[in-house]
Amino acid sequence: MTDTSLETGDATALERVVTSTDANTLGRYWLGAGSLALLASLVAGVLVALERLDLSGAEVFGSADEVFQFWSAHRVSLVLLAVVPILVGLGTAVAPRQVGTDTVAFPRMAAFSFWTWLLGAGTTITGFLIDGGLGAPDAGGQRQAVALTMVGLLMAILGLLGATVSLLTTIVAGRVPGLTLRRIPLFSWTLLVSGTFWLLTLPVLAANTVLAYVDLRGRPAVRFGAEDAIWEQLSWAFTHPQVYAFALPLVGIAFDVVPVSVRSRLANHDVVLALTGALGVLGFGAYAQTFFDTPGTPIMREAIYVVDAFAAAVVALALVGGLADTLRRGAANLGGRPPAPMVLSVLSMLLLLGAGVAGALRAVDPLDLLGTSATGAQMTLTIGAALVGAMAGTLWWGDRIFGKSSSQGLGLLAGLAAVVGVLLVGVGVVLVLVGALGWFANGIKRLTGAPAPADPWGGHTLEWADDPSSVEVTSERPLLDARQTEGASA
């Protein structure tokens, strides 16, 4: 592995940690920090859920403003401090290997991006905890703390953008000869698609945040920084359709895991490429801001939004259909106990389909679901699907990333708890927290686990090869090709 960190001979452990530019190490950092942020986010979600249960004697919060602050903290941190960073971590560790290299492009920038994001995540959480957050309906937050939250959010966005540029450049420019874009593994492909849309939408969120911050600082806000308006102009990033763009890599995880698990090729690889590209386009949510409302007609009631919602559901259904077809054709190879990552990745796809259906129903005007809990349910299903997909991904590639084995059973139980929690929505966040704790515990257990085999699954793609540069790439499954050629010649 290429590592431009300080020479290990003289460097202290702390210096080695801070200066590491190794893709695998950075991937582990993102995964570790993202999972800690996930736990913090879910704790905030549990507190809000308890408040909503209206249990007598369980006065969790002192005011409606506090409830709102924790509710928005839960949403923002779940997306920007937890699920997206975890997917970036998986991508940083896995995608370079999938395209046949052992390092990310611009490794120093990749490391700088992680530390910037980490500092931003810490600042954002601190801002929320000291009565800041992203404004409040009754303007109950402390202005300085609200400003601090926005500075943290900007740093987190900047870190995610830097990491994404590094990751996308690796996928585009770091491929071994023969590995055309049509042949790259689907996890890398979905990272390329979703990362492109992160680069197109996170700057829009940053622009909104800068505008609110500048308006808020040092003087009475004119409009954008008014504390009862901040969330309104940032909320598009945490709801339909933008959440699809954040969750898209889960599709790549499922389509990388399932064919290997059932020892079958994907029948329609190019169709899946096109469908995931379409889902990325449909997940571009920067247009769905209240600022772009036509007077009298909210953007959510306009044709583009409704068509987007229905098209996303259709694409999700087609993707689930493709996965089901692969499962059907390879069912005979599956055996009695399907691998835990396969079970979880299939469930994550079903959750995504549920999210698509919820999003489509929400857009039906006569049902009048806009502004109801259907909005939160759709977001929970989508981000929950991404979380379960990430859990499947860490179980699948974890042995390769950490070099140590973990408990597949514990991983499966944790994932199932998260799935049930996501389906229950609302108070189900308690189960999601239990699942996340199980997943985290499994990750800790892995650090002291037994050495893992290099390729426990019989993988089809380059990340499982000991020397990717020695593999001839003539299709999207080069290792399977090599095995079949060897089998034929034997």
Binding site: A105, F106, L161, T164, V165, S166, L168, T169, V172, A173, G174, V176, P177, T196, L199, L200, T201, L202, P203, V204, A206, A207, N208, V210, L211, V214, D215, R219, P220, V222, R223, F224, A286, F291, F292, P295, S469
Partner: protein, 197 residues
């Protein structure tokens, strides 16, 4: 060397596409989207304000001359950047240093002009929604220009170290992509804020 002994040529490195250019294209795309968002908000809020019959900028508050002067500066810097690219392609180091240095100088001049004008403009940032947007857009663009100038300084340093020759054009091309984008963004600012107001 003993007769008959041959040294096998070392394996050629894998042919990599132009990593720096690809990365710059992604980063520049993100920067352009940042301004795209601000422009979209500007036009949307301006449209709503004018539809209500309210004033956007006070009459005569935004003068044409400072904007025109800035646009001229950026236009000149575009030509000098093309000169730098041409010099790099032809391995003409002296012209390369001159052109990059001039472009950076014009960038600094543009920042200086902007700061001078906004100290003199007489429109406080909290005067209205319009001025808040104006300050954010112009301020963000100054940051973009500053980043481009720093980047040019870095390229100049590497050029002095011999890394910006015709065989290493990616350095100059990458900074030029970012610079042209900064000029394109300013062109929108000039046309729709300074001229059309």
């Amino acid at each position: 060397m003993a007769a008959g002994t041959e040294i096998a040529p070392s394996a050629a490195p894998l042919a990599r596409p132009r990593t720096l250019l690809v990365g710059t294209a992604f980063a520049t795309g993100a920067a352009v989207m940042f301004f795209g968002a601000l422009f979209a908000l500007y036009f949307s809020v301006r449209n709503d304000t004018l539809a209500w019959g309210a004033e956007w900028f006070p009459e005569g508050a935004i003068e044409l001359k400072p904007g025109g002067s800035l646009m001229s500066t950026y236009a000149m810097a575009t030509i000098t950047m093309m000169w730098a690219h041409y010099a790099s392609r032809n391995e003409d180091r002296i012209h390369g240093y001159l052109a990059l240095g001039l472009t950076a100088l014009l960038g600094i001049a543009a920042v200086n002009q902007t700061v001078f004008y906004f100290n003199d403009i007489g429109l406080p940032i909290d005067h209205s929604v319009a001025t808040t947007l104006l300050y954010v857009i112009v301020g963000a663009h100054m940051v973009m220009t500053g980043i481009a100038v720093l980047w040019m300084g870095l390229v100049l340093l590497r050029a002095f170290g011999g890394q910006a020759t015709g065989r290493h054009q990616d350095l100059v091309i990458s900074v030029s992509i970012f610079w042209y984008s900064a000029v394109a963004v300013f062109t929108v600012i000039w046309l729709f804020i300074y001229v059309a107001k």
